[in-house]
Amino acid sequence: MADILIQNGQVVDTVAGKLRKADVRIRDKEIVEVKAGLAPADGEQVIAATGLLVSPGLVDIHVHLREPGGEEKETILSGGQAALAGGFTDVACMPNTTPPLDTETAIESVYRQALRAKAARVWPVGAITKGRAGAELAEFAQMVRGGAVGFSDDGVGVASSSVMAKALRYLEPFGKVLIQHCEEPTLGGGCMHSGYHSTRLGLPGLPALAEEIMIARDIELVRSIGGRYHVAHISTKRGVELVRQARAEGLAVTTEVCPHHLLLTDEAISDYDTNFKMSPPLRSQDHVAALIAGVRDGTVDCLVTDHAPHRAEEKEIEFVAAPMGIIGLECAVGLFAKALVEPGHLSWPKMLRMMTDAPRDVIGRPRVAVAPGNSADLTLIDPEADYTVDITGWKSKSRNCPYHGWKLPARAVATILEGKVKWEL
C-alpha cells in the first residue's frame, strides 16, 4: 500500500466554507496529517496539487446504474468507473432496474456487484412499493438489513396518498429517507415542460403543477405523520417555495437539483433532440431562476446528476417515444461550477458541501472531512481547467448527453478512495 502526500493543494473545509493551503498525508486508508509544509517521507507517492482543490470525496445520491436488467446501457462496473472519472467516490443508485431493487436479495446483489467492480462505492436505494407499482409496500425492514440507504420509486411518484402515508409511517422508526419522484400522474404523462415551447412544437406537456401538487401533498403527509422526506430532482419554482416553507416549519424535508435544470431551458428542444428529454423536463427560465435562488439560500441541499444512461438507438426515435434521461457523472463538477460558481452564486466550498456533506446526511452516511483520522476519500478538482467536454472517451457505456463540445470551467482530476488513487486524468 503506497502512502501518499498531496502537496500544495487548497484543502476544502465544507463546514467552515473555506479553502486553506495545506498538504494532506495518507497512510494506508486513512488521512493522518493535514497541515502546511509537510515534507515527503521515504517511499511516499507525492501528488503535486498546486492550484487544485482537495475536497472530501464527492457523492451523487441520484444515479441509474441499470443493473440488473439494463446492462447494455450501464453496469455497476461501468457506472462506478464513470463516477470515479467524474470525481465521485460514492453514488446512490435508484431501484428502477429490471427487476426493481425491491427485496433484500436485490439490495445485496448491488453490494456484491460493486465489490466485484472495485470502482466507486455504491449505495443502493430500495423501492418504496413492490415492483414500483405504487400499490403494496416493499419489504423495508429487510432491505434496510440488506443495506438500503433510502427508498424511492424513482421514475414514477407514489400516486396514492394512502400508500405514501403508510410508507412514511412504517418507515419512520427505521430513520431512512423516502425519496419521491414528484409527479402527479394524472396531470403528467407528457414528454416536455408544458408551456410556450410544448405548445409551439405540438408535444404533450408535463406541467410544473404535476410536481408541485405532489410536493404539497407529501409535505402535508410529513407534517401529519413525520418521517424523513427528500424531493428528488426538484425542477419547479413553486416546488422550491413549498420546500422552503416546510423547512422553515422545521419539517425533515430536503431536496436536490440536477445540472440540466440549472443550465438549460425547454427552448433547447426546438429540433426535437431527445438528448434534451428527461423527467422532470427542462423548464422555463423563471423556474431555473427559482432553482438557483433555492440553491443560494440553502433550500436546495444537494447537487445530483440523475445520471440516466440509454443506448443511442433507444434515443434515436420519435421524441414522444424516446426514453427519459441523460448521463452526466463525468462532467458534473464542471456543469455545477458553470451553473453556480462561475456566475458567483456559490463559493467552491459551499458548492462542494452540496456534493459531499449534504448528500451523505440524506442517505445517512458519515461525513468525511479532510482531517486526520478520516477515511482517505478525496477528490482533486482543477477549478480553472477550462476544458471542452468530449464524451467519446467516457467510461459510461452510454452517450446520451447534450454536453458534448461544451466549454466548462472546472473538472475533477483525481479520485482517491480509501487511500487508493482510483482514477486520475
Binding site: 410556450y196 405548445t199 409551439r200 405540438g202 429540433d271 426535437y272 420519435e318 421524441f319 414522444v320 417515444a321
Partner: protein
C-alpha cells in the same frame, strides 16, 4: 433544420418570383419560413394549377424521380393528393404504410426510412403520429423530407393550401381576420395556419373550449376567444377544425352535442357572419357537428377549392424541395 443553400441551379430552375431563391431541401414546417418563401410557394403553385385543367395533366419536372409516401397514420386524402401531385410531375410514386414505432416495438422509424431510401428515393413524404418525426428523418436520410402531418405539430402543405385558397378568393392575406375554430391544442392544421397567416399579416382568433385552446398560443401572435358568436361578425375567414372524438376520453369537453352547440358552424349561426365569409375545413367533415351541410355545401364554402388547390401546392412543394436538393447535392 432545413438546409439553405443558394446556387445558380436553383435560381435558374425555380426562379418564378423575381430574384428569390428557394433553398430548402426539406419542408418540415411553416414556422421557420420567411414571408418571401411562403409567397414563393404560393406563386409556384399558381403556375402549376393550370396543369390540372389541361387534357394532358402532366409536366416532366420530376421525370425519373421517386417519391415515397411514408404514412404511419391513416390519411387517404392527403396521401392521394400527394400521389397525384407527384404523378402530375411525372415522378414514380411508392406507397408505404406502417405503424408508428411509438405504439409498435419493431423496426425503428429511422431504419424503415433508410431501408426505403436505399431503394433509391428522391423525396420522402412522411405522415406520422409523433411530433418531430420528420425532423428526425431529415437528420438521418439523404433525400428530401416533406412533412405530411406530424402529430399535433405541423401540417405544412395543409397550411399552404389554406393560405393559397384564402389568397385566391380574398385576393390578399394581410389585414384579414381569420378564426380557427376547434381543438387548437391538438391540431397540426391550426399550428401551420397560425405560423403562416401571422407571417403574412393576418389577424388570427382561435376559438374553442378553454381546455382545447392553450393560453400560450397568444405568444404565437394569436388572439383567443371561447365565444364563436362574438367572433363571427368580424371574420373574413373561418377555418373549422374537425372534432376529434377521442378527445372525449380525456374529458376535454363534456359531449359532442355541447361542443356542436357552442362551436359548430350552423346555418342560423351563419346569419351573424359577413356575406363574403369564406368557410374552410381541412376534412373529413363531421356533417351536422362542426359544420352543417348547408354551410359545407353552400356559397361560403371554399372546401372543395382547398382540395383542388392542395394538388397545385403539393406539386410546388415537391418541385421546390427537389430542386433545392439537386443544388445542395451539387448535381
Amino acid at each position: 433544420m432545413a438546409d439553405k443553400t443558394t446556387t445558380t441551379a436553383v435560381r435558374r430552375r425555380s426562379g418564378r418570383s423575381s430574384g428569390f431563391v428557394w433553398g430548402r431541401k426539406h419542408l418540415l414546417g411553416l414556422e421557420d419560413l420567411e414571408p418571401a418563401e411562403l409567397l414563393h410557394v404560393l406563386d409556384t403553385a399558381a403556375g402549376f394549377k393550370s396543369v390540372s385543367t389541361r387534357s394532358i395533366k402532366k409536366v416532366p419536372a420530376l421525370r425519373g424521380k421517386v417519391v415515397v409516401n411514408l404514412f404511419f397514420e391513416d390519411s387517404t386524402r392527403t396521401r392521394t393528393s400527394f400521389t397525384l401531385s407527384a404523378q402530375r410531375l411525372s415522378a414514380d410514386v411508392i406507397d408505404f404504410t406502417g405503424k408508428s414505432s411509438s405504439v409498435n416495438k419493431g423496426e425503428t422509424l429511422v431504419d424503415t426510412a433508410r431501408n426505403i431510401e436505399a431503394m433509391g428515393v428522391d423525396i420522402m413524404v412522411l405522415r406520422h403520429a409523433a411530433a418531430g418525426a420528420p425532423h428526425l428523418l431529415a437528420r438521418k436520410v439523404g433525400c428530401s423530407v416533406v412533412n405530411a402531418g406530424d402529430g399535433a405539430h405541423e401540417h405544412p402543405t395543409q397550411g399552404l393550401l389554406d393560405l393559397f385558397t384564402i389568397r385566391e378568393i380574398k385576393k390578399k392575406v394581410e389585414g384579414l381576420t381569420v378564426a380557427i375554430v376547434g381543438d387548437i391544442a391538438h391540431s397540426r392544421v391550426a399550428r401551420s395556419n397560425i405560423f403562416a397567416l401571422r407571417k403574412l399579416g393576418a389577424r388570427i382568433i382561435l376559438v374553442g373550449p378553454r381546455t382545447l385552446v392553450p393560453d400560450q398560443m397568444r405568444q404565437l401572435g394569436a388572439e383567443i376567444s371561447h365565444d364563436l358568436d362574438a367572433v363571427l361578425p368580424a371574420c373574413d375567414v373561418v377555418n373549422m377544425l374537425r372534432i376529434q372524438f377521442e378527445r372525449l376520453q380525456s374529458a376535454a369537453f363534456p359531449s359532442v352535442e355541447e361542443y356542436s352547440r357552442l362551436f359548430g358552424l350552423h346555418a342560423e349561426r351563419l346569419r351573424l357572419a359577413r356575406p363574403d365569409l369564406l368557410v374552410l375545413h381541412p376534412g373529413p367533415i363531421n356533417r351536422g357537428l362542426e359544420l352543417d351541410s348547408a354551410v359545407a355545401d353552400g356559397p361560403h364554402s371554399g372546401i372543395l377549392r382547398q382540395v383542388t388547390n392542395g394538388l397545385a401546392v403539393r406539386m410546388a412543394v415537391l418541385y421546390l424541395v427537389h430542386q433545392a436538393a439537386l443544388a445542395v447535392n451539387g448535381k
